[in-house]
Amino acid sequence: MKPNNILPPKLATRFLLWFLRDDLAEEVLGDLEEKFYDKLEGSSAFQARLDYWYQIFNYLRPFAIKNLNFITYHTMYKSYFKIGWRNLLKNKGYSLINIGGLAAGMAVAMLIALWIYDELSFNKYHDNYDRIAQVMRNEVWEGNLETDESMVTGLATLLRTTYSDQFQYVVMATQPADHIIAKDEVKFSEPGRFMHPEAPEMLSLKMLYGTRNGLSDMHSIVIAESVAKKLFGDANPINQQVKIDGQMEVIVTGVYEDIPYNSEFNDLKIIAPMDLFMSVNTWTDYNSWNNYFMRIYAQLPPAADPKTGFKAVSAVIKDTMKDHEEKDTYQEKEGILLHPMSRWHLYSKFENGESVGNERLLFVWLNGIIGIFVLLLACINFMNLNTARSEKRAKEVGIRKAIGSLRSQLIYQFFSESFLVAFLAFVFSILLALALLPWFNDLSGKEMQLPFANPYFWLICLAVTFITGLLAGSYPALYLSSFDPVKVLKGTFRVGRFASVPRKVLVVFQFTISIALIIGTIIVYQQIQFAKNRPVGYSRAGLLTLPASSADYRGKYDALRTQLKNTGVVSEVAEANYPLTNTLGNNTGFDWPGRDPSFDPSFNTIVVTPEYGETVGWEVVAGRGFSRDFSTDALGVVINESALKVMGLDNPIGETIRFKRDYFGGNEFTIIGVVKDMIKGSPYEPASPSIIFPSIYDMSWLFIKINPNESASVALPKIEAVFKDLIPSVPFDYKFVDDEYDAKFRAEERIGKLAAFFTIFAIFISCLGLFALASFVAEQRTKEIGIRKVLGATVPQLWQKLSADFVRLVLISCFIAIPLAYYLLNNWLQTYQYHTEISWLVLAAAGFGALVITLLTVSYQTIKAALINPVKSLRSE
């Protein structure tokens, strides 16, 4: 019989009643209970319960399920949205602020997400993305483990032969460099490389003409579409003859689609066969083991696992250099490794021989966080406004409840309103993002587009919209719907003293972020200015530079110099082995009087023609510069102040320094002069100690100083005429050193502009929220203001009273934001050796600025409220 202690599972019963038609409840429950106890007699309680659940799930049939009257529901939702829409129209100001703020936040978040996606999808253009790697080399250098990409040709040959079973392709490539490509009279220089013939296949180039095997013949070349357009227009370029660097005749065998900007090979516009390089550059061959000037790329075989393959092959090839190094000591941690393509962009830094995240990765994180914050700020506005207006809508809630509205219906009501706003904001945000995108691309140096054709884009956008609506609507929906109708309608309903606390916290949070961003923007700007104003040690004005490595320049330097000077628009011409704006060429192994034998620092070694000093306008602090008048100058050197400091010579002029090898035309040099440090490398780092050698041979970089009395527009055509006359086969491809130098600031300027952009948005969004909040508070306190006025309060007093609340909140934000910003920015500045200091003035100014903005925003509303005629405000009701 019926054992009283065992009952059917309650949860199952509740579940049943949730979906079961009400009129069936009695009979069904009865049947199920009978079944349960019937079952219990023959089997265990567990089995009986399980069977009970089974029976209940079997009642999930159309006939038994509650009548979901979709028509009624549809009407209900229609009503929700209609009411929501009317609410929007009724409060046009609030709605505008709500939707506008949210749209702005969403648009910014969208742009940032796009930017992050772009950064993460770098190099994915190449089909073999996850199997390509660059061969790198770990080497102990001055006690540190350094990782370098310069390789010897011998290694590439070894990997291609002995280790061919480990790779699908091994491709050696020269460093990217400008090469002159000429077709009859059309000539210009394009970045290109000499590579092994498998390169097009490995990089999966999309061929427009010809095939990927185009480089199999030594006298062939494949070019990018943009180059083909410039050379041949729309004609088919295949089998056309072109000339590279004025000396190599080749035939175009292929044209490929330009590699997009988000690939490391973006600037690969010309690919010529490595065999051609070897035939022209007889000073090297495929089996050199002491000249590190090549890059090597490798692709793993199709069967290799992209996750573990690189590590495994790295281990196999690690010590391949060991027997070929000319060094006496080879340490265990040195060796060859593979750097996978997927890590090239965001993990290009090496620490102790391992690739680690670089600054770009940091910015991906930073921007991601900022994007979320901006979106959060916008959501906070929305919540704030809604909760602030809750008292106003309390009556509505009361009446709705009194008429018979269920709490769930009110929740739906408020959620549908917030979804409506979120969706409208989403539509506007797309328009806004579209409008901002060209400018944002310019700012970030990218060519991004909104991926409208991508379903994931829409999916993510809608998901974000939905979450935003949910987040923004949850507080009003859950809080407002909980009001007790009796109290609300009776008028005894009071929002508690602490009801506004969350709202205040949100305002403080908003302003903390805004103030921190203001400070950040100012400091980034100051840092850039600080570095820009640093003395560079030479004169950039009117200084032109151009590469002179082409064979056509050989032996023409003197004639070029004379003719250029004869034009009268050029004051001096010089050549050097390296550009002015980098610090290539470093050597150790120098000796000078009084050197500690264990001290072997590295010097930046530059070789220049004697006119270099006059051309770049260096500042001699002791001795003199080079001169052709002194034959002894051939073994003289000029050092810079940093070098002098390193050497610690009291009286440097006339001292002798020695070099271990015979590189620079001798191994014993006399110091003839000391010059001020020239900033060739990073403007944020101290100048490297330099030793400058004279030479009268041809070198790779040409410098032309325009006569200061002539304008560039007059001088350039005359200079070009000389070039056309003397070296017709080479384009006059000059650059201003000024521009080159400014390029060093681009990364920081970009950060600065992005920071300014985010700051403006954050402030804008915060102010919108504050404005709406102030107007709401003013409206709510209309009666109070009226009574105060009747009792004799003046407008300034009222303004003070109403503004004080907000000022207090912003002050709190200042106290949080200033130390926070100081800490973060100070850390950032420490990464630069030459950096500005954060002055308290900036911090104070930011706080003060925030206060002023707050007062301006709030005052409009408070003064408006204070000016209302008390008769009007007190008469109502």
């Binding site: 009979e27 429950l29 199920l32 029976q55 009642y59 049939r61």
Partner: protein
């Protein structure tokens, strides 16, 4: 338009309602009877669903019966076959018998005992 065809499972359930009679023909008992007669298991929900469909088609009527203690004092819905239902059952049987008669291998064994 009302559905008047009788499915196989429906036919069995309809017959069971007739077999169980006045007192016993409610969903749980019908399901149990089905299990004991056929050896196949069936959920009460499935039986209930069929019963309500047969009700809709007019083959059955139902009314709430008496409450009993086993069911926590709840009443049960007792089903009875309508005249229309009986006629449909008969037609179904006659149709099948006529088919069996035309089946040469077994046709003659069937001499009108039913």
């Amino acid at each position: 338009m009302k559905e008047t065809r009788l499915g196989d499972f429906e036919e069995v359930i309809l017959l069971l309602v007739g077999i169980l009679g006045e007192e016993e023909a409610y969903a749980f008992k019908i399901a149990e009877e089905f299990e004991s007669q056929t050896g196949r298991s069936v959920s009460i929900g499935a039986v209930h669903s069929t019963l309500s469909r047969l009700d809709d088609k007019g083959f059955l009527t139902s009314e709430m019966g008496k409450a009993t203690a086993e069911r926590g004092g709840r009443r049960k819905r007792i089903y009875t076959i309508t005249a229309y239902g009986q006629r449909v059952l008969k037609e179904a049987r006659d149709f099948k018998v006529s088919l069996w008669r035309q089946f040469p291998a077994l046709g003659t064994d069937f001499g009108g005992q039913i």
